[in-house]
Amino acid sequence: MKAAAPPSPTHGSPRAVVGSQVSFEEEMFGAAFDGRVVRRFWSFVTPHRRRLWIGVAAVLVFTLTQIAIPLVLRHAIDGALAVGGAGIEVLHWIVIAFFAVAALNYASNFTQELIVGRISGSLLFDLRRAMYAHLQHVSLSFMDKTEVGRLMSRLQGDVNALQEFLETSIFAIGDFVLLIGIITVLLFLDVRLGLLTLSVVPVLIVVRIVWLPPARRAFMRAREASSVVNGALAENVHGVRTIQEMGREAVNLDLFDDKAKDNLHAHLRASKFSSVMIPIVDTLTGIAMAIVIVVGGAMVLGQELGLGVMVAFLFYVQRFFDPIRSLTIQYSIMQRAMAAGQRIFEVLDVPVEVRDAPDAAPLPREARAIELDDVTFGYGPGRPVLRNVTLRVEPGETVALVGPTGSGKTSVTALVHRFYDVWNGAVRIGGHDVRNVRQSDLGAHVAMVLQEPFLFTGTVGDNIRYNKADATRGQVEAAARAVGAHDFIERLPEGYDTMLDQRGANLSLGQRQLLSFARALVADAPILVLDEATANVDSYTERRIQRALARLLEGRTAIVIAHRLATIREADRILVLRDGQLVEQGTHEDLIGLGGLYARLYRLNHASFDDFSAEDAVAAES
């Protein structure tokens, strides 16, 4: 496919790329064995211990029956059929023995597969649950610096790798026993012929060892190429409107073609590596069979070996390459599992910094004042975000928090809810240090509205109710009415039962905002912490949001990170933060009169305070 003529006169290649330029592949292989990982993994296996042993026993029995079957055939030939055999009487006994072995094989096969499959399935879910549960409580600073996608790959890819490890390692025991068993039986049947036949095994092992590293590189390369090509496809799907708007179709198709070709070649190369093992194994099998026929046949002629033994050898020869193959695959799986395990346990080891004190007290409903007493706090050591901040919000008072980006506004609200613990000083609610009260009480006491209204996939009603499971439909509707969301909800196809697609992508930003207000209203907490949305909505919605906000603030103690002038002016008091310090406070008129930072910011922008950054603040001062 050749692209159409590009839109500009072409001087060489365009400065253009498609798809993400950074590979998201993580370190895939670790050491083949990591005692710590295995021990910790074992603690997850412990609850299934008893069934696991039954499974292992079944694997052993199964393997033994596999070894036994050619032996039964050997006895059929040597004991009954060949020259000098005992005839029909023995044959019948042997047939009975064969059916008995087959039945045992069936039973053990069924048991091993079922137990191993079920245990490893359950383990997958247990591990994921443990990690997920832990993530619900780990420090928010960890969550802040870790991308959701990264965590998801722990919860999915890494957990799968460990499951695969368990599944294969139990079968690996079987393979190992099978290999040892076949070797033992061969040597037992005839040492000389056995040794000769087995001489091909080291050859295969050496070949596999030489083959493995480049083959694995080729396989990984193919995987990477796939993820690159799929990344570029995803970009094409998500950015299709921009691509059409900017007329980039031809250039992109050309660039994509390069990636698709690269992917094709990487896969062809990987396929070469996997194909080339086939004739090697087949040739070695052929050599082993030829040895059995030439040497074994001669021994049969010399009366040194039964004919049945020769037949049994021929059957075994076709079997012993399988366990070697799966054992070498197992090695890679182990390496992957160890790397995955380390990452999983890394997550499980992230400390939970904020916990209830052993003697945590309940928080009385009438505790309503908010107090920050000489608070110093930061996210990374040595870099305080708030420095010696002291402030007090009286019961029922609404305070607007204003300041340039990075001045520490969000940190103040996070501390009131004890998302983090302070370095120095104390945060108190109604005189109770937040570190001494139960977190669940604090949650019920302090409602929080985040800047980005976050909705879950579910119905509108469920999103308003959220975790307040006992809220009635009436309460939900009342809250929606109070914030002025009822009308638009009623107009949705199924009213309160309308499903929200993809976190409410089918609602406008303003509507999502109103829903998150309604959610806070249902929670009905005496203290409210609100981070006003910066994103612009149209004046009509804006008006509605202002009314809803007024309703929400009624009778509550509130800290509002305010961006809109209207909100700021309606507050009882304005606190101006800068570089982690409280620099000004008072009413709008006071602060304008003061002629400080607030006054300058106010003059800079006459209708809203949104999106001003540190550089604007500097500009405002000059």
Binding site: N105, L114, F125, Q136, E249, G286, L307
Partner: protein, 632 residues
């Protein structure tokens, strides 16, 4: 690890547990047309196919010969043992048999390798072609298509369905050939030795083939069910982790865990069920095989004792069975492959066969810009053509001349953005026409039209690439100085300059994360870079503060002097200076004129202006005008 009792009542907890998505994939399907089409794609590589199929055939033959040779060797040994004949001749005969087995094994290996490689290669080539075709098709499909179709759906087609289709040659075509030769040839060879024994040896074949195929199809259905549950689980986890602050703010960890547990258990139940079906099927198949073998042992043994069969023949029966065991099970794979290729291929062709609604007319010519006058003539338009609801635009007419600015304001859903979408022909009008210099946009080529019309979106899509690549997106050959000028005009250059890697800094997750205002400024730089004649700002400075916006407009005045400009905005400060302002309501232009004229008029515009200049004491705006739909 058992789940701690959730603190909320379970029935309420279920409320936020989404039902698993109804599958639109049929688990079992057979579509000869699709299979034929993919097979034809495979034969576009005739040499590879011929080589692959030839090798499949030869590998199967070699496979069939080996048991015969083993049987012969056993018979030699037995015969010589019985007759105690010439030692040297016996050794020669055995060596001969051994050499034959060795050579046949080597050839079998080589043929299988070729079969394997060529099967995979053709599959990869098909995947490559489909991938490219899908990519190109996605680019061409109109906005209206992308409005309807979920991005995840297209991604599934691009990843899973291509994956499913590419296996057709190896698991479908080649394996059917291998199986028919092996089972057919094996049956013929065994029957020709002994009919009864042959029947017994093959008695497991129909049973296993049918049983395994049914189980495989059942597993397929269960697999889809499991994937759906897991998709729900993924979504719940993603939402939880993405919204972790909401979770913490409401202290709803217990609630969230309960939610997780409900879905997790649902998925685990299916996973266990799958294991059960799988285990029952495979173990029973193996058992059936051994029962067959036991019968051969019994009957064959008696025949050997009755001298109706040689031991060598007996051994070759057993060797045949060993060879047939795996391929017969793989019949199930082939059946599965038919079902999988039918569904996956069908879903791919469904997209590939679509004709874009917006495409060049056969006689389309390039847009010829003489002045750059944009005209709307009695334009009416609606997004949903089924005729539900009122039109988005009704009888809209206006004109923008080069160097002039038209502002468009109005409540959400009044059709402002739709105007922006009709000029570069993202959608076609239902009535009336949109022209540039008198040429109907439907009569010119899309490429030439979109090159001359730039639209700056409110929520721009930025690419995970360097800032330079993002700004030059519309003209990747642009000089670096041109990129810099555009970025300067958008008031972003100072910011970029201070980044450690400047214009080479990556945008997105792994690079710098831009604020809403910066993203919009980047989009503005991107749109003013190409030499377009018409430029539309679709509320594209909403997140930029007013002071910066003013600077942008001053800087752009130079660039846009000879371009027609349309500015759509919520914030009146963005449009106040326009030569003409259109006030839209419910798809109609209800007021038009310059700012002063409209304020003096005392209508909708004046009310909005009053509302915005000073918030609290401003005029009331009647409720209910907006909110019906997000701005089109």
């Amino acid at each position: 690890m058992s789940a701690p009792a959730p603190s909320t009542t379970p029935d309420r907890t279920l409320a936020l547990v989404p039902e698993s998505v109804r599958t639109r994939r049929t688990a079992v399907a057979f579509d000869a047309g699709v299979l034929l089409r993919i097979t034809r794609m495979a034969f576009a590589h005739p040499w590879r196919m011929a080589l692959g199929l030839g090798c499949t055939l030869l590998a199967a033959v070699a496979q069939l010969v080996i048991p015969q040779l083993i049987g012969d060797a056993v018979d030699f040994a037995q015969g010589l043992l019985a007759s105690a004949g010439d030692d040297a001749a016996a050794r020669d005969a055995l060596a001969h048999a051994a050499a034959l087995i060795l050579v046949t094994s080597i050839f079998r290996g080589l043929f299988t390798m070729m079969q394997n490689y060529q099967g995979e290669a053709v599959g990869q080539l098909i995947a490559y072609r489909l991938r490219l075709a899908l990519y190109a098709k996605i680019q061409k499909l109109s906005f209206s298509y992308h409005d309807r179709v979920h991005t995840g759906d297209l991604m599934t087609r691009g990843i899973l369905d291509i994956e499913g289709t590419k296996l057709w040659v190896s698991t479908g075509v080649q394996r059917s050939l291998l199986l028919s030769v092996l089972v057919g040839g094996g049956a013929w060879l065994m029957m020709s030795i002994d009919v009864l024994l042959g029947c017994l040896a093959l008695s497991f074949v129909p049973f296993v083939a049918l049983g395994a195929s049914l189980a495989r199809l059942r597993l397929r259905t269960l697999w889809y069910a499991l994937q759906e549950e897991l998709a729900v689980l993924t979504r719940v986890m993603e939402e939880n982790l993405g919204g972790i602050r909401v979770v913490r703010a409401f202290v709803s960890q217990a609630f969230e865990m309960a939610r997780f547990d409900v879905i997790s258990r649902r998925a685990l139940t299916i996973a266990h069920h799958r294991i059960d079906v799988f285990v029952k099927s495979t173990t029973t198949m193996t058992f059936a095989f051994f029962v067959s073998m036991g019968l051969v042992l019994w009957t064959g043994g008696e025949k050997v004792l009755a001298d109706a069969l040689t031991i060598g023949e007996f051994a070759s029966f057993l060797a045949f069975m060993a060879i047939l065991q795996m391929p017969v099970r793989q019949i199930a794979w082939t059946v599965n492959s038919v079902a999988r290729t039918s569904t996956c291929g069908g879903r791919l062709f469904e997209v590939l066969d679509l004709e874009p609604e917006i495409r060049n007319r056969p006689d389309a010519r390039d847009l010829d810009i003489r002045e750059g006058v944009v005209r709307f003539e009695n334009v009416s338009f609606r997004y949903r053509k089924e005729g539900k609801g009122p039109p988005v635009l009704r009888d809209v007419s206006f004109e923008v001349r080069p160097g002039r600015v038209t502002g468009i304001v109005g409540p959400p859903g009044s059709g402002k953005s739709t105007i922006a979408h009709l000029i570069p022909r993202y959608y076609d009008v239902d009535a009336g026409r949109v022209t540039i210099d008198g040429q109907d946009v439907r009569d010119v080529t899309l490429g030439s039209l979109r090159r001359r019309v730039s639209v700056v979106q409110q929520d721009p899509f930025l690419f995970t690439a360097a800032i330079d690549n993002n700004v030059n997106y519309g003209d990747p050959w642009a000089e670096r100085s041109a990129v810099r000028r555009a970025t300067e005009a958008a008031q972003l250059h100072k910011y970029v300059e201070h980044l450690p890697e400047g214009y080479e800094t990556l945008v997105g997750e792994r690079g710098v994360s831009l604020s809403g205002g910066q993203r919009q400024r980047l989009a503005i730089a991107r749109s003013v870079l190409p030499a377009s004649s018409v430029i539309v700002f679709d509320d594209s400075t909403a997140a930029v503060d007013a002071a910066t916006e003013r600077r942008i407009h001053e800087a752009l005045a130079d660039v846009t002097r000879d371009r027609a400009m349309i500015v759509i905005a919520h914030r009146l400060s963005s449009v106040m200076y326009a030569d003409e302002i259109l006030f839209l309501e419910e798809g109609r232009i209800v007021e038009r004129g310059a700012h002063d004229v409209l304020v003096a008029l005392g209508g909708h515009y004046a009310a909005l202006y009053a509302l915005q200049t000073r918030s609290n004491d401003g005029a009331e705006v009647e409720d209910g005008a907006g909110d019906e739909a997000p701005a089109g």
